[in-house]
Every structure is written in C-alpha cells, then in structure tokens.
C-alpha cells in the first residue's frame, strides 16, 4: 500500500504521472514529497510508487 496525504491506496508499481492525471493535478502547481524528501519535477515522469511509500501532494493557487 502507498499512503497519499494520509490515505492508504493500492498504488504500488503505478506511475505518479498517471495518478496526477486521474486526479486532475496540474504539474506546475503542485509539490510532491516522497518519504520526507521533495521530489524534483524532473523526476516525475520516471517515478513509480513503491510499497510503503509515504507521499504528500499539495497544490497551490495564485491570486491575492
């Protein structure tokens, strides 16, 4: 299982980019942290979830 924003999901082996697409995240507006380290944008394409990964995804808005 993979923990994304506190929720356990059966995503091991799945691609991060597929998950982001399914959940309508816009890559330029999000930050992803995996097991305590920020995942650089350049690593998104190759990243696949592994068993036990703890992932935080947060999206930002502009405006003020």
């Amino acid at each position: 299982m993979v923990k994304i924003n506190g929720e356990l999901l059966p995503l091991e082996g799945k691609k991060l980019t597929d998950y982001l697409k399914e959940h309508h995240f816009s890559v330029s507006l999000i930050a992803v942290e995996v097991n305590g380290s920020i995942l650089p944008k350049s690593s998104y394409d190759d990243f696949r979830f592994s068993e036990g990964d703890v992932v935080e995804i947060v999206s930002f808005v502009g405006g003020g």
């Binding site: 330029s28 507006l29 930050a31 942290e33 935080e56 808005v61 502009g62 003020g64």
Partner: protein
C-alpha cells in the same frame, strides 16, 4: 498604550514583553489587495510598530468586494497610499511607509532589508517567486499565500527551517497555467481568512510564539469547510535559490514577469 493592547497583555504567548517586541518590529506587505487589506489592518491593530506597504495600482470599484482597507471615496487613489490612510485611522501610533510602486529585481532587495518579516500579498506567481527568491537570498522570513475562488494556501519560510516556494514548485507557473481572481472569481471572506492567517504568522514569528507554517502548507476550502496541513519538512538540497550559491534575481526577470 496598555489599554489598547489589553487583550494581548493577558495572552501569555504575547504579554507585555511580546507587545514591546511587536511595537519595535517592522513588517513589509507586498500588495495592498485582498490579502494585504486583511493582513495590514490586523497587524496595525496588533501594534506592529512599522508597516511597509507596496502597491503600484489604483483602487478600482471591482476591488471593493474584498479589499476592505480601501473604500468608495478612494476610487482612483494609489492602493499603498489608501492603505496608509486606513491603517493610521485604526492605529495612529504606528509608523507606515507607503510605497506606491512595483517591487522589481532592481529595488526589492533594498526594500526588504530594513524589515523583520515580509508578507506575500501579491496576485501573480511571477511576483510571488520574486518575493520568495529575494527573501531567501537576504535570509528574511516571509509568509506566502495564494487564494482564488473559495480556497487558498499559506506557507511560511524562515532560513534553515524548511523549503522555500521554489523548492516546492520548481519553476514559476506561467500566466494561463493557473486561475486568476479576475476570471475565476474569489470570495472576499476567503481572501480575508487567508490574509488574517498571514498576519497571525507574522505576529507569531515576531513574538516567538507557537508553531509557524515553516515546512508545512496549510490549505483551506471555504466551500466544503475542509482544511489540511501538508508537511514538507526538508528543503530541496538542489534548489537553485535556497540550496545553492550564486542565484541572481536579474537573470530571472522574465520569470517574474518584468
């Protein structure tokens, strides 16, 4: 003096000592729009001794649905000057520096130098990154926020205490990649909530109380009334601004929209 801040004096996290710190502190608000309106009024009321407020724009009728520091009589007036008037009405005992111009790669470093804490109250990611990069380089703490429609986020940066905005997002999101308040709309009360959170972060930093949103992003959606705090504890060691030497603001002008 004691009477004005009586409710701070009874807070053990502020008290007389904390109030003295606030009175001798300087906070710069970049932007006197929706976020800046709420944050500036609460910081002024709290007795932050010097407030700087920068905004090159003029008050327009469509601003008044949320930019509560301005009013109908100020239509056409520069926002920084209008904000100064309102702040001094609320608390004439503090000092206000109004900067009726845009902060750019040319002037921002000098501007932030004399302030203890900076608030990102601007609307575009270009300007948000300019504030981020300039504050990181100058080792100044600041509170980032963004808000559109019914939701927004807040994150605080302090040197050595977690990631900066560039660690989090990498490159500057370009106009067209994200919704703007002008086209997507924004609830005035939502901007007020987020702006108040920024004021609270500044006050907590200045008096040394509680836990800041360093290494954390707080998000709230007023439509569903759901909020969350995501932890991003470590800065990116490869971040070109906070992780490495030699970052130049001027080389990133285009990204900032200059």
């Amino acid at each position: 003096m004691e009477e004005r801040f009586a409710r701070h004096y009874v807070l053990k996290e502020i008290g007389e000592e904390g109030q003295k710190k606030l009175l001798s502190s300087k906070v710069l608000l970049v932007g006197a729009g929706g976020l800046g309106s709420a944050a500036a009024l609460y910081l002024a009321a709290a007795g932050v001794g010097t407030l700087g407020i920068a905004d090159p724009d003029e008050v327009e009728l469509a601003n008044l649905q949320r930019q509560i520091i301005h009013d109908t009589e100020r239509l056409g007036k520069n926002k920084a000057l209008s904000a100064k008037e309102s702040i001094l009405k609320l608390n004439p005992e503090i000092h206000v520096n109004a900067y009726p111009f845009r902060l750019t790669t040319e002037n921002i470093s000098k501007m932030i130098e004399e302030y203890d804490f900076i608030l990102d109250c601007v609307d575009s990611f270009g300007s948000k990154f300019l504030i981020n990069d300039a504050c990181v380089l100058a080792r100044k703490p600041f509170c980032h926020a963004g808000v559109v429609r019914f939701s927004g986020q807040v994150m605080t940066y302090a040197p050595g205490r977690g990631p900066c905005l560039r660690c989090m997002l990498g490159n500057v999101p370009q106009k067209g990649e994200y919704p703007l308040c002008k086209t997507a709309g924004v609830l005035g009360a939502a901007v007020g909530v987020i702006g108040c959170l920024q004021a609270a972060e500044a006050i907590k930093y200045l008096v040394g109380a509680g836990e800041l949103l360093t290494g954390r992003v707080f998000r709230i959606d007023l439509l569903s009334m759901r909020s969350s705090t995501a932890s991003f504890e470590k800065a990116d060691p490869d971040c070109p601004v906070c992780g490495k030497e030699g970052f130049s603001l001027k080389e990133h002008r285009e990204e900032y929209g200059e």
